[in-house]
């Protein structure tokens, strides 16, 4: 494909590389683009990436693995779109994803991205674990397979297969059981929601996943979905309707908020802790949901919620988006965004770093260990905090 065929040929040259995109909304520091924070070379900033895309498509530079890695180091956190003051800002991620698509179609992508996508093609999850093991996380929980319940509890790939995230998947299930919510799961029949696939530029695979999921949900008569992951929430809420899949989708923090305020979930036992909350990108910047989890946390007696300096739309992404929780292009350094963030949480005196996303969970578990902070800071999902407050744990 040349520049002429590129969907954003009219827009890609408009980036001035002024660098606003490197900063958070509150201007705290220059490292709020996770890839730029990690590498601190202009090529890894959003502007650098856009200029390189234009240079590649117009033939000024050739494809290389380094170029592909620069492209795929974008975690789709949306900081750049929020910060760019120019009119085309709404298309920044689209431009990057369209360029990724071009690489996907030519087959030349980093090998870890190839693995990720092939694993999904073959086994319905990026890890390549067998489909028949997807439901193993449920063992011992008495969680029911979906059969006409009020809600589908959609777990997602990370929650189904990652050891630590499975703990959260179970815990959320127990919390919902305690609140007597009518819900069921898809178990082995659950398939990848496709959110990361779409951010990686594999459009056709994404379409296939969405079509299959929509057909499955409709066949089962599913109307309401609560998701563990903000990634699933984002795809189902914003992309599935395009494929005739309009479901009533909630992220679990939104459900917990209403369960607590309705009195269906009693968190009055509470417990003492100093907690800080990390806004997940796909709930926060992508969907403007910053308060549900905070409402849940502050409803618990004994918990002191303190804020990191960059919070809400100023949050520094954990570095796990755009498939990077698996592809790991931003790992391996004290400048890895998850490690920067863990240090920030620790520096303000939090003892619990609360997350609402299984990707953030796994990224921060590793980061806290890498920073040697395990004795002073623990990573807990909001559902685990609620579970403790209801006396489930």
């Amino acid at each position: 494909m040349t520049l002429l065929d590129y969907k954003y040929a009219d827009t890609i040259h408009r980036c001035f590389r002024c660098g606003y995109c490197k900063f958070p909304v509150n201007w705290m520091d220059v490292n709020n683009c996770p890839a730029y924070a990690r590498f601190r070379m202009e090529t890894y900033s959003c502007g650098g990436r856009l200029w390189l895309i234009r240079a590649w498509l117009s033939g000024e530079i050739d494809w290389s693995n380094h170029l592909a890695e620069i492209l795929y180091s974008c975690t789709a956190c949306k900081n750049c779109e929020v910060k760019c003051p120019l009119r085309f800002n709404v298309d920044i991620l689209n431009m990057i994803i369209a360029a990724k698509s071009e690489m996907v179609e030519s087959g030349r992508i980093p090998s870890s991205v190839k693995e990720f996508l092939e694993n999904i093609q073959r086994q319905g999850n990026p890890y390549g674990h067998s489909r028949v093991k997807r439901g193993e996380w449920m063992e011992g929980t008495e969680i029911e397979p979906y059969q006409g319940h009020d809600l589908l509890y959609y777990v997602g790939c990370v929650g189904s297969y990652d050891d630590r995230a499975q703990e959260v998947a179970r815990m959320l299930g127990k919390v919902l059981q305690k609140a007597r919510v009518s819900f069921g799961v898809l178990g082995n029949d659950e398939n990848c929601d496709g959110n990361e696939v779409s951010k990686l530029g594999e459009e056709t695979l994404f379409e296939m996943l969405v079509e299959e999921n929509v057909a499955q949900f409709k066949k089962l008569g599913i109307q309401k979905v609560v998701t563990l992951s903000p990634h699933s929430y984002n795809a189902m809420k914003n992309d599935y309707p395009r494929f005739n899949g309009s479901f009533d989708v909630m992220h679990y923090t939104q459900l917990l908020k209403s369960l607590i305020s309705d009195g269906r979930l009693d968190v009055s036992a509470g417990f003492d802790a100093v907690v800080t909350y990390h806004d997940p990108c796909f709930l926060g910047r992508w969907n403007n949901e910053y308060e549900a989890a905070r409402n849940v946390i502050t409803a618990i007696p004994g918990i002191q919620l303190i804020e990191m300096e960059r919070n809400r739309d100023s949050t520094l992404c954990c570095g796990g988006g755009g498939g990077n929780f698996y592809i790991d292009l931003l790992g391996g350094s004290e400048r890895s965004p998850a490690r920067i963030r863990a240090r920030e949480a620790h520096a303000i005196g939090a003892r619990i770093l609360a997350v609402a996303c299984p990707n953030c969970l796994t990224m921060f578990e590793d980061a806290v260990k890498a920073e040697g902070l395990e004795e002073e800071l623990v990573v807990r999902d909001v559902s685990e905090i609620v579970a403790e407050a209801c006396g489930i744990m």
Binding site: R108, L117, Q121, H129, S130, R131
Partner: protein, 259 residues
């Protein structure tokens, strides 16, 4: 250059406990398994496509298998093969000699400067097929090829020996090579590519079409039984200071009758 790449469909066995032996005790249980192109064959296909992109010519992907094996041919087409042929016979657990005979018959009928195989398969791993086919065709071959440069009438290759040693050859064409993993970075095959490949025609041939009959395919080996290795108790971890650990280890070895 006319290239033929022979590919096999194998189960995804990245998880150790995915494999269970079936009732016949000569095959594995297939239900619940996902299937894919044999890893080594993917590298061979990529090598073939790269040569084609550089020198022009045709690439034909060939396989011997039942109908479900069409999916690997679609992937080969999506990767850049021009045509694909499936000889309709379920040969998954058969003697490589039989498969070689069938392939040799197909290849003989097609223009071929270069024939590529993967060095071995992920399932049975005999590593014999390529060499056998070359002998049957009467053409030179090299196995475990880790680098490959194709010219007009010859190829320059390197083979991997022990301890990272390489040996290099210049081989006149036609020739057959078995390709080792790591020779290149196989391109990703997008779903869009596969969908486009769905529209292309797959050639399916029967043994009859090849002038072969079942009686001609006499196996030289017969698979008696498949079994899983016995699971041991597990490892014993010896801890303590080097002195303590050495003492305990010596006791354990003595007790096991090692000395």
């Amino acid at each position: 250059m006319d290239i033929i790449a022979c590919i096999k469909r194998v189960p995804d066995t990245s998880e150790a406990d995915a494999i269970k032996i079936d009732g016949s005790q000569r095959d594995i249980q297939k239900s619940g398994l996902a299937f894919k192109i044999n890893d080594w064959d993917e590298y061979a296909l990529e090598a073939a496509v790269q040569i084609k992109e550089k020198l022009g010519g045709t690439l034909t992907a060939v396989t011997v298998g039942h109908q479900e094996w069409n999916d690997i041919l679609r992937r080969a087409l999506a990767m850049g093969a021009d045509t694909s042929i499936r000889i309709d016979r379920d040969v998954a657990s058969e003697d490589p000699h039989i498969v070689a005979l069938i392939l040799k018959t197909v290849i003989q009928r097609l223009p071929h400067d270069l024939v590529l195989f993967g060095a071995q398969s992920e399932d049975f791993g005999s590593g014999q097929l390529g060499a056998m086919v070359a002998e049957m065709l009467g053409i030179p071959h090299a196995t475990l090829v880790v680098s490959l440069e194709a010219g007009e009438n010859k190829v320059h290759i390197s083979r991997e020996l022990e301890a990272g040693t390489l040996e290099s050859y210049m081989i006149g064409l036609p020739a057959l090579l078995t390709i080792h993993t790591g020779i290149n970075q196989p391109r990703y095959i997008s779903l869009g590519g596969i969908k486009r490949a769905m529209k292309e025609e797959l050639q399916v041939m029967s043994l009859n079409d090849l002038g072969l009959s079942v009686d001609m395919l006499v196996p030289m080996m017969k698979l008696e039984r498949l079994e899983l290795p016995l699971q041991g108790k597990g490892a014993e971890l010896i801890t303590g200071t080097p002195e303590e650990a050495a003492e305990q280890l010596a006791k354990t070895l003595k007790g096991a009758g090692i000395f």
